[in-house]
Symmetry: D3
Subunit: 126 residues, 6 copies
């Protein structure tokens, strides 16, 4: 199995309005450092998983909709808890609209919310 | 599959008394940077794998028994080789006493013993 | 010259309401990874710059006032631009209320706002 | 499952002579930071996956054939695209000539070509 | 003193044709991870050292002339040893053509050539 | 001003027998990740601060005397508090026996004792 990972980041505001989130219930924010990983069983004609420029551009396009946003007011998160796990899943879903899954074995999206904590969403295709 | 990782560290002394460990046979020590990762197939009601505060606290509690210890004299390691792999397994076993495995898909414990070497112990549940 | 650095982080929301900040004008957020560095010309009786536990605790206490906050509504930032540089200066000023500068040569506060950008405020004493 | 990872790096020149590689078609170069990970289902008599010194030495020996090389002229890459994925596979193949696979569950080779992009080749044994 | 740092990277080929460089005499390459730091005594009207977007763009523009290049054939390095130190100085000189030094206290350019080695060139203004 | 930094690490045991060190009074240990930085006002004939191989080798030679040691029994630390700051100073002193200071402007030794804390000792020459 081969994989390729590219990185980017978003800086968002949000609140997590459930008493169990304690101090994170109020409006606060996070830099989410994003790592997107595509997996393939075998390499294609150019001996790559995906072109790094194309992967970087695809991830940037998906993240553009979230950059400098208040997720509490973002149409994709209104009324939902925008936890790191949920945002990872959202980015994964949006990436999957942009490539042909039949060529790949899976996709992982990792979001680091601070230097000591991160979450992933991972999906296998086919 | 979703995952959540939180980090902490311990600073321990130990010796590895087998000739095959060469210079590590004598009393020396290590900072072991610890990353604990919980996996779940689906998120729960709060849209999280586990509360980051709870995960951090659970890991800290388990590590408290090892912080600033000489593992050669620690009851859980007397007479055993306290390799990085063994310590990773030990931390995993102790963590598993503290949460309900039926809610999770697996657990990984990673220990970095220096900037260029690390070990993991990974277990799938159910 | 000796120095000691300890790390922590805050996760804040804020806006930067000046047209020159472009997309950062609206409500967004950041994880600010904080590194505080104390400098001394000579070590004291315990052969340290400062006790790491004490330094970590002092930094945590100062950061507690900012954790999970919306800086736009924070009394120390209302009506001011809470740029990374300004927050670094603020943390430095608050730290300086908590130790005896006559024992130290200087203090640096570094804030990483994302993996590829950070700011510092550095002051020499005496 | 247990794993052990050790790190090293190579600094190579190469070109990627296909129009789809854009500016990377010409002679350029890369530092490839290498992480090799061995996996085992159970630990052996010394309670390790592999001796760190032995793993580091094995990886270094394999990388010695690539250090400071122009891959366009390297016998193992002449006429082939030396993409990061291909180099990862090559290092994996060369490592596999040097240990007994029957003792291990798998091997992963990760190559970071810059701070924001990396590739892996991963193989399960048996 | 305040500072702001932004990051980027280049991937270059070069040779260091002096016998004292040993294996680095031949054509090889490097990813040079670049950190550019501007210093100011006092912040300006927007409470910043420099706009992060502007700093990132300025650094990218300077690096564009080096990306994916063979420095042995690059007009700015023909006949010169393109050591990491020299490239750091070169990037610093090129950056200084693009901002008004009277507003700043100094500039540092740091280049990481591999995970365990880096060089800087630092200049104070005025 | 130019600088060159190279990295290595040591894994040592020690105790800090003063009540004010709390749990660190007993025998414990640390991985100390070491960064040694040489500074020069101007580059020499090869356009470098120091040869990276030579710097790496010099640092390794100095660290060899500390690797896998119990500092409580090490002749250079018996009866002294082997704090991170003291070890940094010790490494600096030992390095300075091995190069001609008249060619350099200064030397910094940085020791990371865990991912969130590090100390430096810095000296200017001449």
């Amino acid at each position: 199995m081969y994989s390729l990972t590219v990185c980017d980041h978003i800086m968002i505001a949000h609140s997590l309005p459930d008493p169990r989130f304690g101090p994170a219930q109020g409006m606060h924010g996070a830099t989410m450092a994003v790592e997107a990983t595509w997996r393939r069983h075998e390499l294609g004609p150019l001996s790559i998983v995906m072109d790094i420029g194309e992967a970087t551009s695809m991830l940037a396009t998906v993240l553009d909709a979230l950059r400098y946003e208040n997720l509490d007011e973002h149409p994709d998160f209104v009324g939902r808890l925008s936890t790191t796990e949920t945002v990872a899943r959202h980015i994964s879903d949006k990436l999957r609209e942009r490539f042909d899954e039949s060529e790949f074995a899976g996709l992982q999206v990792l979001l680091r919310e601070h230097p000591g904590a991160w979450a992933t969403y991972d999906v296998n295709f086919g």
